[in-house]
Symmetry: C2
Subunit: 549 residues, 2 copies
């Protein structure tokens, strides 16, 4: 067996998280890609719109080897980067029906739906991809219907990848997970397991989606007026639960927010939402209906000021203004980093007189990821030889590795790795053999990958104390100052109130240029920086512009 | 009784939170101020260093009426604005010994310690302030020693203010709270209660500080190498617990981080820390000592890159580099909004091989604020006629109001108000009578209050897509372009890679100026904005500078 005929597994995408958004599996001259999702920029990625996995280095000489892309489920962080990836490497995509429907919406928007070979598979089905990889899709439960895990048979052995999952015995949509398949892989012999680590540091079992029904029922029963309920567009199962609660409590449901409308429409078309006739109405049809017969599902779970809930909280929504008897329900998790925005939105809703149901006590949301006891069960069903915890930050992977050790997997068979690390498997052994850049690429406007650390550093500096730019006109020959310097500043001080400081800065530049024999730019920068710091204790970006006439 | 002889209560400081950092009590021509703390800027307050309460409008005509300031405890959010307030209104300050010690450090740094009349009181003591307010300080438990609540006797009746508190039966420092005093006020008859709402939406009882001992003991027992433990400088009781754990497990303790060193030194001087001789050593004295005999307390609980823990995580700390057997303990809460930074620091510590103990499962931190069952007990002891929930965001105040209703306080006697709202009490009734600006003031560098919405908006724009500035030189008489335009940009694109775009922008400006009859600035702004958006889908701040020669 030559080196290139070993099995390689490479997590390739995730911001802090490992293998969350993309993973590559390589054997011989064949590459299979699992998922291609987007990440949302962190707080210090100023002005960045989206973040996508950096597959370019790993795949640069291997584009012809890529046989296909398999997608585990239809969430943004697993399908959002597909248009970018397919633009680069156009190979067949394989996924379940709802995921395919949501991918299609995305491809159509980018105008490439016609060019992509998008194949629908069913859980339980087994297909051959590129003549080498035999991929079996097995049913799992997650917060979106039609989620699957993958059992990938390779010449080196069987690879099992859970995708995002939890062990829900009473899911909102479909059956409990396919425990039988997992046990079957276990008896067949699994070379390596890659498993979701999102909640690997949380003890116990994740609550069933079913428990949310109780929280929703209580809220729907007690609400005195309208119900406004915020959830993610992609939480299709949650939308179904809300529709069921509304039906039980004689309320119609309207939807407000483009992403929600689109995904509900698509899910309904494909038969993944069961909506009684007449229950779903347009927001404009709510007029004249008693408040106690109204529920409105809105976008804006993260407090985003531009989403429907944000506009309602700010009093900027055209159709919807909070009335004192309204109940607002926050039925989703708060993404870390968004706590302040969400908290602010909740406070504003209270300020306008709404009752707001949120957080753990509200019992209106549960996680879609397995906790420690489920992960132990998984390890005991699948009994892998090697284990790679994925879908989590390093701290979660370490917690997951700890669980695996507690279940008897030898420490040397567990690989806690980062994105871009190549783990290589042969019959006899497994080892880390290489590390390629496997981080991420920034998307800002129409630019993909053109924003780097220098631009971000400038944005950070500008965001702290703004800039001060001084235009100085000098005689080309004598170097004499021709005019009074002209200062332009933004984000530093409120100029109208600081005319004296600006004037003083202009004068100090004149005096310094008169005295100094040094380069004019250096003199201006030094003079300005020192003056502005001593007067304000701030450090704006200082930009000297010298025009020689 | 004239209107001015009614009792007025005005919460004056808090960012989102109500009355958190400052409250005023007015009767006749007498004003008593409770606390004067700082707030930490929220994510969108770009470049702002500190936020202080806006007392100026409320007190502008009443500065002579202010009789004194009482301080409940020595945390930054209760004492941090004192130097600013005392600079404006120099009146006597009354507080307990540790709080006074911490205030003194602060005043000394600002060079005003000599000018301030700082008085030390003891829990249980009753003093007269300004001849009108009789203030009794009662002992409460919080995460810093020497915390007190206030029973303020006024001609209108008795006002009870809890300060920050929890009902801890086994506190680390001192006795359990003074339940006797609370019951005594209850029998005497309390006009109005102001109580801490921080955890009013959390069911049950807050765990005792004592339970942290178990978590620390486990961590200290199991640690194979050094222990590095991050906590707040102000959590003096936690520092004591760490010292106790180190003593039990034969480790010396070093402290790294200026704020920690200062507050430990001050607390030790004043007798609030009990440190066995030889236990506390300098970081430089750790060399040569076995790792299993070392514990280091560090600053940086919020993942701040400049604090000790941040530098350790980044590998930028001069003395401390993570070794594989090290255990890092995060013994403090994560302030909402800092989750990403803290998560990143934890991941980096794992990356360097440390074990990191954090979060609920770690059992190494508890809240210092009362939860729902404690708040119910408080209401039952104090039995106030009126109730004003304070120290919380609106959602917490609403949860607290709900609790008060459940304990039989009539809804019309509960005032959920915001900062700057004046609640007026007479013998017969209580009502909201006025609303003054009671928000906050930004401190940026040495500027207090000079940064307003315009500057912040500019900083936000600059942080998103940077700026593009075009300098155009025109003939003063003919308006003809004299030179090729000169473009300066930062934070927009990486200029080295976008020379063609910059050149094209210069050329389009030339063409547009040649054609357009309009004002040159308008033409430049429009041309640039349109070109840059169509080429990049970004919207940098566009600044035209026209020089007429």
């Amino acid at each position: 067996m030559t080196s290139s005929n070993k099995l390689k597994i490479v997590p390739l995408g995730g911001l802090g998280e490992v293998g969350k958004n993309m993973t590559a599996i390589e054997y011989g001259r064949n590459v299979l890609i699992i998922d291609a999702g987007v990440m949302f920029p962190e707080q210090d990625m100023l002005g960045i719109d989206l973040v996508i996995p950096d597959w370019s280095t790993y795949l640069q000489d291997k584009k012809d080897w890529v046989r296909g892309i398999v997608v585990t489920h239809g969430h943004e962080d697993h399908i959002g980067a597909l248009p970018y990836l397919l633009n680069d490497i156009n190979v067949p995509v394989y996924t379940t029906r709802l995921s395919a429907g949501l991918i299609e919406v995305k491809l159509r928007k980018k105008g490439i739906a016609g060019k992509v070979n998008l194949n629908i598979v069913r859980a339980g089905e087994r297909i051959s991809i590129g003549g080498l990889f035999e991929v079996e899709f097995f049913h799992v439960c997650h917060s979106i219907p039609d989620a699957v895990g993958l059992a990938i048979r390779t010449p080196a052995g069987l690879v099992v990848h859970t995708g995002d999952f939890k062990f829900d015995y009473t899911p909102t949509w479909g059956d409990p997970p396919d425990f039988g398949a997992l046990a079957r892989y276990g008896s067949e012999g699994v070379l390596v397991l890659l498993a979701d680590s999102t909640n690997a540091d949380i003890p116990g079992f994740t609550l069933s989606e079913k428990t949310v029904d109780e929280g929703l029922d209580k809220a729907f029963r007690e609400a005195q007026g309208r119900i406004i309920i915020a959830t993610f567009a992609s939480l299709i199962s949650r939308v179904q639960q809300i529709i069921n609660a509304a039906a039980r409590h004689n309320r119609v449901v309207a939807i407000d927010g483009r992403s929600l409308e689109e995904s509900v429409e698509r899910a309904q078309e494909l038969g993944y939402l069961d909506i009684p006739p007449g229950l779903l109405v347009d927001v404009r049809q709510l007029k004249g209906r008693p408040d106690r017969q109204i529920a409105i599902i809105v976008t804006g779970t993260q407090g985003e000021p531009s989403a429907a809930l944000g506009r309602i909280a700010d009093g900027r929504h055209r159709q919807l203004t909070i009335k004192p008897a309204d109940t607002v329900i926050m039925s989703s998790r708060v993404i870390p980093g968004n706590e302040q925005l969400v908290g602010r939105a909740i406070n504003k809703l209270f300020q306008q007189g709404a009752q707001v149901i949120y957080g753990k006590a509200g019992n209106v949301h549960v996680s879609g990821h397995a906790s420690q006891e489920e992960l132990k069960l998984l390890l005991n069903l699948v009994k892998p030889k090697y284990f790679i915890p994925v879908h989590g930050e390093l701290r979660h992977l370490h917690a997951h590795a700890q669980l695996a050790r507690s279940q008897g997997i030898p420490p040397e068979n567990i690989f806690v790795v980062e994105n871009g690390v190549v783990v290589e498997f042969s019959d006899e052994e497994a080892q880390v053999t290489d590390r390629v850049p496997g981080g991420w690429v920034f998307v800002d406007g129409s630019g993909v990958g053109d924003i780097g650390p220098q631009v971000l550093r400038d944005r950070e500096l500008l965001s702290e104390d703004g800039f001060v730019l001084a235009i100085v006109r000098l005689n080309q020959k004598t170097g004499q100052l021709l005019h009074r310097p002209h200062i332009i500043t933004r984000g530093f001080v409120y100029v109208k109130e600081k005319q004296d400081l600006i004037q003083r800065a202009e004068e100090e530049i004149m005096a310094a240029l008169h005295l100094s024999g040094k380069d004019a730019k250096t003199t201006i920068r030094k003079t300005l920086s020192e003056l502005l710091y001593s007067e304000t204790q701030r450090q704006p970006m200082v930009l000297p512009v010298v025009i020689e006439e």
